[in-house]
Symmetry: D3
């Protein structure tokens, strides 16, 4: 298996509902440093996993829609706790949609899975990984 | 698959038996920076993999039993080389026992696997990953 | 010159006033990973710069007063932009006050300066350093 | 599963062919920080995954054959783009050959897979992982 | 003293002249991860050291003029070894010129010094720091 | 001011005397990741701060004399707590002696200061910096 990973970040405010979250039930915030790992079984004709320029742009575009926001106000997340692991899934879904739409180039349809990791501090991070393709 | 990871560390003395270890056969020591990665297929009702506060406490408790010790004196390790990879397994087993005992909360029984990584320097690390649950 | 540094973190929401801040004028948030570097010319009688346990506790206590908060609601910061560099100064002042009050032990009065660095992402950080003592 | 990882680096010049590479079609270069992760199901009789000294030597030897070179001049890569993901595969193959040849010791034949990761910057990396053994 | 730092990177080919460089006399290359630390005694009226957006843009523009190049072909470096420490100085000079030209905003003229660090691998880096202003 | 830094590590056992050390009074150990930063005002005729090969060798030689040891048994440290900050000073002195003896090359006598940093974990480090030369 071959992989290529790119890193970017975004900065948001949010709060959580549920006693399990303790003081994080109050409005606070986070910087998420995000790694997107693209995977496939064989390299494409250019000897690459994915066009790293387009992969970087896709990640940036997905994060731009979240960056400098209070996620409590985002209708997409109504009634859901925007935990680190859940946000990893959201970003996975949005990048996967771009791949399916051809935004990462025609060869990117050969990608088989994607892992998205969000680092919330030097001592905690979370990830979602899932399949890609038809 | 969803994951949540937390990091902590411990500092121990030990020595190894066997020519393969060269100068590490003498009494020396290490700082181990430890990452525990908790995994499950679906998020729990709070939209989380595990209560990160309890996960952090469990890791700290397991490391506290090893920290500031000479592992050569620990009866639990008699006749075993306390290599980085073996210690990763020991820590996996001890965290897994806490999960099974309910110490990470009732939803933590939905965790499916656990990976424990020990960083012994900026150029070497080791890990054990194994299944969880019944 | 001798130094000892310890690291911790906090997570807050805030917004900025002023066109220079662009989209950061909206309510958003950040994780700040904080390094406190304690400095002195000579080691104390225990051969240390500072009791690292007390230094860690002092940093944690200062950050706990900021953690899981919306800084826009904190009267201490009314009318001030809580930029990364300004927060570094605030944390410097609060740790310096603890040193002056003897909370880091009697020998800590021999500390000569303190540098506080706040990492807001993998590509941006800010610091304040200033003198300590009479 | 148990793993042991070691890190080293090499520094090369190269250029790429294909419009997808944009400005990287010109002669440029890279530092690659390389992680080799060795994996097996059970520890060997010394309680290790692999002799870390021999693993480190094997990685260094493989990288030495690439280090301080212009890869465009290397006959082994004629007609191939020496992308990060492709170089990860090349290094995987060369380490795997050393394992098969017994250079990592007799117990290393119990290794089941190998993952090689090349970090090309703080925001991009690539990997290849494949099976080992008969 | 207050500081703000931003990070970016560039990738180049080059070779060195002089026996001290050993195998690095051959054409090879490097990724340089670059940190630019801006310093001043007091914050500006917006409570900042420098407009971080403009600082990021200035660093990117300076690195873009070097990125994806063979530095041996650059007339600006004829007869000079483009060592890591020398490149740190070159980047310092070019950012300093932008500050003097007002490209980082009018308040940036209050900056007093600048440190530029180039990381060439996980085990080696170099820096230049110098004064700014009239 | 120009600087060049190199990184290596060593692994030791030791214990401390004094109530301030709490559980670290027991025999334990540490990995120290060590950064040596060499400084000078102007580059030498090769456009470098110091021959990085010789600097790396000097650091390795100094650490080899400490590596895989129980520092409690080292006569050089009798009656002294081998704290992180004290070890930084010891390593500074030993590298400085090599520079004075010409082991880093004749131009290395132009070095003006040296900073040695020891990282004992992901959340704690210590340093000593001092002058060099006649």
């Amino acid at each position: 298996m071959f992989t290529v990973s790119v890193r970017d970040h975004f900065m948001i405010a949010h709060s959580f509902e549920g006693q399990v979250f303790g003081p994080a039930q109050k409005l606070h915030g986070a910087t998420y440093v995000v790694d997107a790992e693209f995977r496939r079984a064989e390299l494409d004709p250019d000897n690459i996993v994915v066009d790293i320029g387009r992969a970087t742009d896709a990640l940036r575009a997905v994060l731009a829609a979240l960056n400098f926001r209070n996620l409590d106000d985002d209708p997409a997340f109504r009634g859901r706790n925007t935990t680190t692991e859940f946000l990893a899934f959201v970003i996975y879904e949005r990048i996967a949609a771009k791949i399916a739409a051809g935004e990462l180039g025609p060869h990117a349809r050969g990608l088989t899975s994607l892992r998205v990791t969000l680092h919330e501090s030097h001592v905690a991070w979370a990830a979602y990984e899932g399949q890609l393709g038809p």
